[in-house]
Amino acid sequence: MMEPSAYLLLSGILFGIGVAGVVARKNVLIILMSVEIMLNAVNVAFIAVGSSLGDVTGSIFAFMVMTVAAAEAAVGLAILIAIYRLKETIDITELSILKW
C-alpha cells in the first residue's frame, strides 16, 4: 500500500487550484464550485490520513465536511439567485456595495 504523502500532495494541489479559482474568477457560480473543490481537497486529506492511521474519525470528519458543503452550496446558491434577481449580474466585482 501507498503511504499517504502522495494523497496529501494531491490534496494540496486540489486545494491550491480551488483557491486560485476563488481569487481569480469573477463568476460567482464558478467561485462557489471552486469552494467545493477546496472542500473536497480537505476531504482527500482527511481520508488519506485517517485510513493510514486505521482510524474511522477521518471518515467521520469528511462526512461532516460534506454536510457543511451541501448546506453551504444550498444557501450560497439561494443567495446567488436573490442577488441575481436584484442586480441582474453574477459578476462578483459588481457586488461591491458593502464598502466605506
Binding site: L8, G16, V44, V49, S52, G54, V68, A74, A78, I90
Partner: protein
C-alpha cells in the same frame, strides 16, 4: 495496483479541477466538477473509505452538482452577460500566491513523511455507521439541524417576495 490507479484518478481530479476554474461558461465547469468529484470518489475507494465514496457520488455528484446545474439553468445568464474575465495584477497575484500555497503544502508533506497501511475496516460502511451512531451521535444529529437550517435559509433567501 494502487499507485497506478492513484495516478489515474489523481490526474483526472487535478485536470478536472483545472478545467472547472478555467471554463468560461459555468455549465462546462459544473460538468467538469462532476468529473473531479467522481475521481475523488475513486480515490476514497482506493483508501478503503467505501462509505465516503458512496455518499460522495450520491450527495455531491447527485445532489450538490445537480443543484448547481439547476441554478445555472434557472437564472440562465445570457452568453453576453457573463462576466468578462480579464487578467489583472490582482488576479495574477492571486494565482501566484495559490501556487505558493501548493508549494508550501508540498514542503510540509515532504517533511512529515507519514507511513502506515489502511486498516481493512477503517472506512467501511459498518465502521463509519457504528461510529456515527455511537460516539458521534450528537454531532450527527446536529448536522441534521444544520441541514434544516440550510433548507429554511435557502427557501427564505430564494423566495420571490421576502
Amino acid at each position: 495496483m494502487e499507485p497506478a490507479l492513484f495516478i489515474v484518478f489523481g490526474a483526472i481530479a487535478v485536470g478536472g479541477a483545472i478545467m472547472v476554474v478555467t471554463r468560461r461558461h459555468p455549465m462546462a465547469s459544473a460538468l467538469y466538477l462532476i468529473l473531479t468529484l467522481f475521481a475523488v470518489a475513486g480515490l476514497f475507494v482506493l483508501r478503503q473509505a467505501h462509505f465516503l465514496a458512496a455518499i460522495q457520488v450520491i450527495v455531491y455528484a447527485g445532489a450538490v452538482v445537480v443543484l448547481f446545474v439547476f441554478v445555472i439553468m434557472l437564472i440562465n445568464v445570457p452568453e453576453d452577460k457573463l462576466p468578462v474575465e480579464r487578467v489583472t495584477g490582482m488576479r495574477f497575484l492571486g494565482v501566484v500566491v495559490a501556487g505558493l500555497l501548493i508549494l508550501e503544502s508540498a514542503l510540509i508533506v515532504r517533511r512529515s513523511g507519514m507511513a502506515g497501511t489502511p486498516a481493512a475496516d477503517s472506512g467501511s460502511v459498518e465502521a463509519v455507521g457504528r461510529a456515527l451512531f455511537t460516539d458521534y451521535l450528537l454531532a450527527f444529529e446536529l448536522t441534521s439541524v444544520l441541514l434544516l437550517a440550510a433548507v429554511i435559509g435557502a427557501i427564505a433567501l430564494a423566495k420571490k417576495k421576502i
